[in-house]
Symmetry: D2
Subunit: 357 residues, 4 copies
Amino acid sequence: MKRIGMLTSGGDCQALNPAMRGVAKTLFNGKEPVEIYGFLDGYQGLIYGRFRLLTYGDFTGILTKGGTFLGSSRTPFKTIQIPGPDGVDKVAAMKQTYYKLQLDCLVILGGNGTHKTANLLRQEGLNVVTLPKTIDNDLWGTDMTFGFQSAVDVATDAIDRIHTTAASHGRVFIVEVMGHKVGWLTLNAGMAGGADIILIPEIPYDINKIAKKIRERHDSGGRFTILAVAEGAISKEDAALSKKEYKKKLEKRRVPSVSYEIAEALREKSGFDVRVTVPGHTQRGGAPCPYDRVFASRLGSEAGELILKGEYGFMVGYKNREIVKVPLEDVAGKLKAVDPDASIVKEAKLLGISFGD
Amino acid sequence: MKRIGMLTSGGDCQALNPAMRGVAKTLFNGKEPVEIYGFLDGYQGLIYGRFRLLTYGDFTGILTKGGTFLGSSRTPFKTIQIPGPDGVDKVAAMKQTYYKLQLDCLVILGGNGTHKTANLLRQEGLNVVTLPKTIDNDLWGTDMTFGFQSAVDVATDAIDRIHTTAASHGRVFIVEVMGHKVGWLTLNAGMAGGADIILIPEIPYDINKIAKKIRERHDSGGRFTILAVAEGAISKEDAALSKKEYKKKLEKRRVPSVSYEIAEALREKSGFDVRVTVPGHTQRGGAPCPYDRVFASRLGSEAGELILKGEYGFMVGYKNREIVKVPLEDVAGKLKAVDPDASIVKEAKLLGISFGD
Amino acid sequence: MKRIGMLTSGGDCQALNPAMRGVAKTLFNGKEPVEIYGFLDGYQGLIYGRFRLLTYGDFTGILTKGGTFLGSSRTPFKTIQIPGPDGVDKVAAMKQTYYKLQLDCLVILGGNGTHKTANLLRQEGLNVVTLPKTIDNDLWGTDMTFGFQSAVDVATDAIDRIHTTAASHGRVFIVEVMGHKVGWLTLNAGMAGGADIILIPEIPYDINKIAKKIRERHDSGGRFTILAVAEGAISKEDAALSKKEYKKKLEKRRVPSVSYEIAEALREKSGFDVRVTVPGHTQRGGAPCPYDRVFASRLGSEAGELILKGEYGFMVGYKNREIVKVPLEDVAGKLKAVDPDASIVKEAKLLGISFGD
Amino acid sequence: MKRIGMLTSGGDCQALNPAMRGVAKTLFNGKEPVEIYGFLDGYQGLIYGRFRLLTYGDFTGILTKGGTFLGSSRTPFKTIQIPGPDGVDKVAAMKQTYYKLQLDCLVILGGNGTHKTANLLRQEGLNVVTLPKTIDNDLWGTDMTFGFQSAVDVATDAIDRIHTTAASHGRVFIVEVMGHKVGWLTLNAGMAGGADIILIPEIPYDINKIAKKIRERHDSGGRFTILAVAEGAISKEDAALSKKEYKKKLEKRRVPSVSYEIAEALREKSGFDVRVTVPGHTQRGGAPCPYDRVFASRLGSEAGELILKGEYGFMVGYKNREIVKVPLEDVAGKLKAVDPDASIVKEAKLLGISFGD
């Protein structure tokens, strides 16, 4: 018999349940009997021994459900490493739970932070298989993460809706899309929503070029302009600052986010009525889109098969339309950002989209 | 031959195009020839003589389109009344355009502000027929306005999405719904989205009762709480202030809106992780929902019939499932708010929803 | 303590779960303790004593869920009345279950057939409160039934999608909408989807008038024509037949439904490429729309309040925007059909829609 | 100056407009002046010289629109090759239009049939660049075609809706998904919708194995079973027939499609209530999904760039997440079917899905 632990960590997203269902159905449908323990609220459940034995029924009817039925929490890598004010050595506690339950393997679903911890547990000798969950699509070692396409759909819907109101009123509208470090989500939602200007962290912007683009649109008869702006969009001046200086500057920011900063600057420079909309957490909520359901199910079933074969220490990823296993040490601590010279950026520019660069 | 002017004024919403299509198809399908002049960007077009002659084709294929193909603008009642810095007497200018084009009637689509001006034009001797457009459903004289149900759908979708992320993380989430003066939209979206607490301008809240409700939910095993909060939600203390004092207080507010104020207070009082999401302008954008398409088409065709019959000075409204004509003087300057003793409020309370009162 | 039985009967629809949630939350939130027994698969559960005691948790998280968590079945009125081949006197069996469980009241959710049986049980001395569930909106005594608006949304979405393909290919397309006896669903979805021709049971059609309308559209430059056709649409000739003759004719029909019959006739008469699409059971499936969630919740909570007050023998309905209680004997056996002279039909005709009459 | 012809051919699908917009924006944004001629209704427009000169405005606002604004028609390869009853040598006529307008290149959007003709025109000496449009995803030389993901979304939505009604009534439901020759759409929608059984042309089924699977589900407590069945699903016996014999058998089929045949057989073998739903043409209609909008825009802009560079004779495809140019002679006449040994099929089986094989 195999004994498997399962947990979801970090910000929730839309296809965690289908992915877990994929793992579990594959394991339950295997020849060997299996017990699956679900840890509650991410690594917290593993640390403090909060779990329950899951049955086949737990994985039924969850294909279309957003969120994670196990709960999740953001457990920063550093707080895992360093015994906290509660005096608990968290790594030791996790190992203790693992060994006490006599687990053969942990299945961990999460993004970048989660993978750092997963790799740490692997280094500590635990068997780990991971699945790439994030709406940011910024995990190294996989072309795609689940949650991403669903988030693109939600963000695009927001841009679509803003389009009609922007066109009716002849306004400049900024839609702020999630993504502090990478711009995949903004780039794709921006292209899908027909944004005229897309600002992402990887391509620092020049506010004057943005203002110029808006004026040009206006002068050639365009009534409105839509900007898709990543949470982590950054101006050329700010990108030239040292990390420390930039952090200091952020602390002094009077407005809630960069979008409002850009809006203020554009109002001044262009004289236009500039509005900001922030779909926020809706982007990670709701039912997974069909693409993500299939994709997460496929990754999940392959993770299940790895476990059945006893192959541990991998993230199940997707490369060149093949599902692949990627050594955890290759994934942890790396970021997959948009290459400013990537063909998708070139294509967006051919379509007339400005990146403000 | 009849000569009709048409304009959409105020914030755009989702069924302006179907409503105009309803008027136009009815007029074009009538026996008498008709010319329809579309004024651009609301009253601005009437004031400054910006219009174009519309054809049957202009009204084809717009049933499913959000926004208004004529454009709109917010023209506050006061700036219409008082000659502005541009020296133009706007009422005189509107009359001049009307008479110059030898119009038989103006069809005006809009909300409360728009109706004040429409009534003013009626008093000045122009023939006017209006249609009740607003996502707020706050127009006096009609049970329903178009745009409302579509906005309920968008706001509900936001609450639905927040539900999965709130449940996964065990958080308290505030979804701020449009509505500065009335709570219809928040009340309906809140009930449709399964909000636990609904705060509307008509029922001032006690922050301690809200905190208590959250604690109770938590104590009885609830992992999360969802609040649907109208933009114009107000505390009992603030409701007790004079208008002047309240305005002064608002000017000093450090946060963008009441939701953030409530979030801060709840964080302090309950210790919970409280987040705010603001779907904002997405609520008035995108395709009209089927309900609004039928409703706006029906009102539009009845407005067309009134014009064919030469009956002017009315808003086409909806009362007790009958389409009715309401004298403009009865509509202008009034507000249809949620009665705190209405049966829908009672029913919401029976369902366990708290209004913080 | 109150002991309540609950069942859903007839074809499922989209807001059964919210309605039951409304009843249950109101009862559980009341002062008196309450036990709710859920009968499985409609009257079958009552007849054969298949039920389970429901808890508060059963009604949590079901606001957005389609179908009915209790299951349903179509139990024709006649098989209820007459002891069947299994020798069971079903009415006696239902009474026996009722008395054995010492129920105070049965809450029954269903459409026309369901209400006949509910009234029969009332006549037999049982306490009954009912809720009007049907996508057909054909229940007498209420302006609206839950499930209806959700079905309108699904059927409209189908017509919307067919629009783009019809326009691209210049085709005549028939979308067959549910409704054997009444045309509310077809009428509303047809108007919402911009159908050019709407055929409903209440207004028999002349195939030549339909062909003429299509030719006229074509001659005036229209590339395509969309027909929304109710399952029960009927030609003038067929409407003139006796019931017996018509039934006989239906038995000989070579095609699956009236839509295909109309398509064949139009192909012959007009020479156009005529296609048929049948969304079928999708119209009653999926999440309830926000309108239905609010509406069903409201009716449910009012039903709960009636029970708390001990008022039995009513359907909770909706009249002139007020929630009302309608004596069951007034509801049973009657049908609310579209009046061919209703204002909505007149308005549809003003918009240029043909009913083929 | 460049002079470009553009046409869409074959069944319409959801991202034709974004793809054409991508080509046109890239060409119009290029340095060289360009004229784009749009041929109406596919090859028909090229044959009979029906076209119009397109402007930048024709490509504005069409990113979210389904269908094709140029119109399309199915022009079977054979009728193109052989002068028809109208005496027109169609290939000669197409060449004549091309040379008369002094075109530099034809941009042709279509599926398999379209590509055969496109290659024929290339062989005849015309410059051709093509784009892979089909909901079937069966074009050789590209991993993905646009229209596919949008169709997956629609078909999945149908399965989702059927789920709630199947569960409520405890029924067996067949959802018939488009695809006569290949099963990509059915496979993906089936997996996304949580179908229990998926039948595709590439994997002939054994009706007894399907009946067995349904019984097993029932015996282990499953109330319902969902089958996703491709239009071209085929039994093992039928697959063993010669093409001629099979065609003969199809002509004698009493029911509209294979789904009804399977339903009848299952009713007999299993005794269950088996229903069929056919979403039909809705699968190719409506707005393109965000994935398709981005994908089609990218392919379109790359096609535009090829033309700017004067590289002709290619289909713009997608291989291993790179946009590639595929020689037309490699594409024409080939089919990309599902490999029964593909990893996605294996994964589906790990999830417990039966293919009836």
